[in-house]
């Protein structure tokens, strides 16, 4: 492999070009190479080396999935007993019972609704956090908050922070990859951007299908034609270096072409699933009746392949086709059922596959949406947004399986125990990656910015 970056040119000159002082210190202390994606040592030994974030866009209902509330069914159709906060649509009706039943699964006996029969089989690997809260009731602000720790647009995504803190273990692929199942969340691609962090850390969008990554396919008719062009370019670049001087920025730009060149073959190799066994594919839902299940199954399988290739942070977005995301303002039963069928088998397949390959213990899998849903009806048969108490779960990567953390009230409306903020979620994720969230900072706006702002506490109770 060609040198990933020309070494021997100190980081100093580069950092002079980049942001404020603090950034230079992190880069130069992490590595003597100036490659911003060079692997860096964590603050303390990490439990997880990779994160797979299964992003359930729209906000799945906690009381219909992992947080059973019998009183909802007992009081179905009656006026809701608690004081109702304003909601996004403010069209709030009576108590709405859960249309599904719950069963206890596994050694832990944790209840899971019939929406997730497959994930339920893995429940002993899950730490179910029933006390998540958000600060926003609108999708976009809540999405930005979930992804970046701020409700406003333009901040770095958590995947970008992970890359900034730890670098990448794969020299041929980006450190933060978003496998786009079809739904880009409200707020758009800025949910995956690098904000004020350098562009090196921005999420790369991989689509399904042949052209997964923008501009990764050479346009030349043959490899020879491109190689010939690149050979001339290298030669001319050497001339530029000799005339301009051995300047760090120049050398980095030259080295950058080598990575781009390697990506041209690494991406097709990654996307080529022909080597995967029929059994594996079956496992992930490649033969499921719904095409969306097949799509999400392929993404989950790709996620495993990215983990195998050392990619740091992988986010999956949901397939389209269930009305509007997990956002069932009406017709809860049909919408949630479809959404669950798209993802249930693939997620279970991913968890089992990672486990059987010994990858789950070093991979943190996180499942959840930007908020939950109201226990009372919107209109006749929908649920509105509820940021006051909802469920996410984590698995693998140092998380204590078979755990329930936190609780909502008798209606699943608001948290009453072990309230967890999005900042706490981020703090815990970074902790599992070996990062002290208070020390991962980037100087911007005259402040040492953090993913967790000035908040965040690690959920120690769910750690192994």
């Amino acid at each position: 492999m060609l040198a990933r970056c020309a070494s021997g040119f100190g980081a100093i000159a580069l950092t002079a070009l980049l942001g404020d002082k603090a950034f230079g210190e992190v880069v130069s202390s992490g590595s003597d190479r100036h490659d911003p994606l060079a692997p860096k040592a964590p603050h303390f030994p990490a439990k997880a080396r990779h994160v797979i974030f299964l992003y359930m866009d729209g906000g799945p209902s906690q009381v219909d999935t992992f947080d059973p509330k019998p009183r909802l069914n007992a009081e179905h159709g009656k006026p809701f007993a608690m004081k109702k906060e304003p909601t996004q649509f403010n069209d709030n009706g009576n108590t709405l019972g859960c249309p599904w039943s719950f069963k206890n699964y596994g050694q832990s006996g944790i209840p899971v609704s019939d929406l997730f029969p497959n994930v339920a089989q893995c429940v002993d690997d899950l730490a179910i956090i029933r006390s998540m809260t958000s600060e926003f009731s609108e999708h976009t602000s809540a999405n930005f908050f979930l992804h970046t720790g701020s409700g406003l647009q333009g901040r770095p995504s958590m995947g970008a922070w992970a890359g900034y803190g730890l670098g990448s273990e794969n020299a041929d692929l980006p450190g933060f990859i978003v496998l786009n199942g079809g739904l880009i969340p409200p707020g758009g691609l800025d949910n995956f951007n690098s904000g004020f962090l350098p562009a090196s850390y921005q999420g790369s969008i991989f689509k399904n299908g042949a052209n997964a990554v923008a501009n990764v396919t050479p346009t030349e008719a043959s490899a020879e034609l491109q190689n010939h062009k690149l050979a001339l370019m290298r030669k001319l670049d050497r001339g530029v270096v000799s005339r301009f001087g051995k300047l760090d920025a120049l050398e980095s730009a030259i080295a950058n072409y080598e990575l781009a060149y390697r990506m041209q073959s690494a991406v097709p190799e990654l996307m080529d699933l022909r080597g995967e066994s029929a059994a594996t594919k079956e496992f992930y839902g490649f033969n499921a009746p719904l095409p969306q299940t097949q799509t999400f199954g392929a993404q989950c399988l790709l996620a495993r392949r990215l983990v195998e290739r050392g990619v740091r942070f992988i986010e999956l977005t949901c397939p389209a086709g269930a009305g509007d995301r997990w956002d069932q303002h009406g017709n809860l039963k049909e919408g949630h059922e479809k959404n669950a069928r798209f993802v249930d088998q693939p997620i279970a397949g991913l968890l089992k596959d990672l486990k059987s390959r010994g990858l789950l213990e070093s991979t943190l899998v996180v499942w959840g949406g930007e908020f939950g849903r109201t226990p009372f009806a919107q209109g006749k048969d929908g649920r509105d947004h509820n940021p006051f108490g909802f469920t996410m779960w984590m698995a693998g990567g140092g998380v204590k399986g078979g755990t329930i953390f936190g609780a909502t009230d008798d209606y699943g409306y608001k948290v009453v125990e072990n309230k967890v903020s999005i900042h706490d979620l981020h703090a815990t994720m970074l902790h599992l990656l070996g990062i002290d969230h208070t020390k991962l900072t980037f100087r911007f706006s005259g402040r040492d910015m953090r993913l967790t702002d000035v908040y965040g506490e690690v959920m120690k109770e769910i750690l192994v």
Partner: protein, 1142 residues
Amino acid sequence: MANSASSSSVAMKIGARATRPRHAAICVLLAVSLIAGYARASESADGNEFFEKRIRPVLSEQCYKCHSAGAEKLKGGLMADSRESLLKGGDTGAAIVPGDVENSLLIGAVRWSDKDLQMPPKHRLSPEQVADLESWVKSGAPWPAETGAKTAVKKGFDLERRKQEHWCWQPLLKAAVPEVKDGAWPTCAIDRFVLSRLEEKGLKPAGNADRRTLIRRVSFDLIGLPPTPEEVEAFVKDSAPDAFEKVVDRLLASPQFGERWGRHWLDLVRYAETRGHEFDADIPNAWQYRDYVIRALNSDVPYNQFALEHFAGDLMTPRLNPKTGADESILGTGFWFLGEEVHSPVDIRQDEADRMDNRIDVMGKAFLGLTVGCARCHDHKFDAISQRDYYALTGFLISSGYRQARFETLVADREISRQLEKVRGDARTKVLREMAQALRPGIGNSANDLMAAAASLQGKHLPVGSAETPVNSETVERWASELKAAASDPQNPLHLFATVANATKGGQSGTQSLETIKAAPSSQKATAGFAPEQIVVNYAECEVKNWMQDGFSYGSQPLRAGEPVFGNTTGQPLLGIETRGAAVRDLAWKGLDVRCAEHDFGNLGKWDRGEKTLRTPETVVTAGRLWYLVKGAGRAYAVVNSHLLVNGPLHGALLREWNDGGGRWHWVEQNLADYVGHRVHVEFSPAGESDFAVAMVVQAKERPALPDEPNVLVTAASQKIAEPSPEALAAATQRVLVAACDRLGADQIVGKDDAEDWAKLADWLVRKLDLFCPQDSPERRHLAEACQDLITHQAELAGQIRTDSHTAPAMSDGSGADEFVLVRGQSKSPGAQVPRRFLEAIAGPDQPVITSGSGRLELARRVVDPSNPLTARVIVNRIWYHLLGRGIVPTVDNFGVLGEAPSNRELLDYLTARFIREQGWSIKKAIREIVLSRTYQMSSEPSDAHAEQVDPQNALLHRMNLRRLEGEIIRDEILAVSGQINLEMGGPSVPVHLTSFMEGRGRPSHSGPLDGNGRRSIYQEIRRNFLSPMMLAFDMPIPFNAMGRRNLSNVPAQALILMNDPFVIGQAKAWVHRLKPANTGERITQMYELAFCSPPSDAELADGTAFVREQAALYRKPESDETVWADYAHVLFNVKEFIYLN
């Protein structure tokens, strides 16, 4: 079921109770206090025991981690480790009120009843613990006296000390230009400042850049485009001493200068053309701001003027566009609105606080190089900026509003409005007199006419044509029809007569008629029923500062009762007499329309409001309902917390539309029940062609009574009649009408106590002109002649009104409102209000109080005052940064403590002083001086190893910096080299080219062209949620905050774009078509001169020749084939020299 957490937390609590040691010392103290007979309720033995057993353990275990002297980090400013500190409380006030459970914040917090104040934050206390705390507070919160109670001293925020200790607050240094050893090197003062520093370190400056490098450098720096080969050759051959100066002056005069430097500025104002968030709604006409910036830079508007325009361009004497006469200044204020907007925020107040935060943050960095935004939640951690400073500035913004300003017509319309006013003022006396003249004969016969009409309605006919009573049948018909209408309309002055005449007809006696008359209610003023605090505005008695409108549709002031409403025909020179004080739409402006500009997203955008908007003062919603006393069809936009993206599902109530109420005054309700406690003002606009007027706005729970009742003057006159009969009543009515006509003719209604009553009669008379004075009568002809001049003048002026105009986002001024200090930045925790003022560290603690309007102009003057050490320094440093690649203060947006110190403060202050005093804040002059220095003209090659070691960041400028071109400039360069560039300036942006990777809500239905029509990058559309991947890869800042210095990252996407993107490939092909026919060597030379400003070296020529030969062979095509040359062109785009500036 595993629930480890809850069981462990229970264990923790139990453990806490069991292990808490008792303090022996407390018992002693307790004994002492009892002996002394000093036994407050708070120190009773029982109370103390209860405290120690049930309260202290809970406080200690559950609260002290964050609320004690020992807390690692004190939260909310509250300490809970002594009774005194609980009484004193934290940021939100006292934590306990002894004896008052319900008003003790602590109790509310542990009950978790308020979702914004829940303690402990992660879990609820047990019901027993909450009950314990309640009874403790109820019993007076007893707390045993303790010696040596820990009271942490909060670290003070000392603004003055911080100001003294940091350089950026200090006035400009008056440093002499330094002496240097090598007197031959410097060509100007700048060089001496630079060289003197180098000499201190024993360093030498680098050699001069060669001419080709220099012209390429300065061309990109000044206009962002490569020089043409002809320009390069001319400069290389020009041996005149001012050869370079000529190049510089040509570039500074180039229209492309503004495009290059405009983009630098747009980085500071987070320029984008959509509002991001969920649906990425357009910011309509944002490009007008972009073009304004380009024009301002090209015409070298002094920077202090430019800055003033950004703050208060709508409030100052406008700078006019020399070509179009349009208002340029107002366009500057558009920058405030280039940020994000949220539709349907559930917490509308917090959303406003967040939007204002972004504006303050951007303003602070862009103009002052200060992170003012850091003082939102607390005093600045490092700089001399208090939290009060932050909210003092926010007040200016919440006192200002958003509009789409008709900047092209505003200035001309102001003049037209002034003249209209004058023409009417001059004609008023005459028109009123003539009007009365025309009415008088008809009124003089009205008693007869009434009787005749009444008789006619009863089937009787009075004798016609007698000498005293010249009644003809047409007249009778007109009066009969009027009388019929009056019978069912209590507001008609003839109503009483009609009623009595009807009654008489029905056989009632005269006594009964009298009863009817006496029972007639008398009118009352509309304001009578309202408490002063209910009245948001009453245009009958409106203070000048509360008279706010966009445009001139409502004249220069409200009309008072009794004032004429002018018409525009000689047949009807007056439309009526205003019956109450009101803002009345002037028909001269009815034709205004916006056809050529983009409209806002959402329901509000469907309303055309430009130069048609009347704005009320600001108030706070108390009753939950606003009521508008209006005439005509109209619209009201209740601006709650400046929310503007009104498009469901929430906040639809902010928009209210209503139909014409039959031309009468009527009350319109706007239900704002969801916004009680929120700030609001109302912006009215007429619907369509409606004759629209607003009299007053009140807050009330119930619909106010309709004020218009039977005319009190007619009633009073009638009630004086001794013997009631239709005849007597007709005579009385005539007397009143004659009196009204006289007052009208003498213009003696306005300003009197009974003006409204007379005005109603006069208005009726004027509107019934046809009744009293038929169209073809001599009086009517006389009236028409008398008003001819006025009507002609009015028509001339109205003809000058340009009905259509482009619009642009701009500020409007509102009534002044001061913001509250929001504790911890949370809108739910307002503290004290702070008066609007500029930063205390710059303008001092005693700034003049702002007495009317937002006060932005006053603020702007303080910002650009030469005594402010920051504004000029910051822009001068930015100019230096763009030209040299590194700011003298490298953190160009942050001159505060956390920014980097200036590498050469003497130089910065020297340049700044010159900028203010000698260059007149001219950006072009400042640029010129710098690029003509020898410092700028040094080579960038690192040839001195020692210097690289001593000055690795090149902070001292021992050589020029190597710089990578920005993404926009790389794209422009590709287009320039390929010959495809289209240098058309300004106008709406070219829609963004959408790739299949650019997905999400709000995606435009059509993609823009791949090559952006060859227009420069600054004219490519910037949609927040659909940013160009090429620009993103090359570090165009994500538009969310001021970004004076771009990141320079290295990502594979950059290489992949230049290697494989269809735009780049397409331009490589196009380039080939541009080349002149020539042999291989000549072609290569041509291409080098275009791309790199110099011919190829021998080696490069040889490499190129070999490539062409070999590639042709691979293709099995001749060497001249364009496919082969497109490949070669593509390689040249990818050579690093193409994207770097040496």
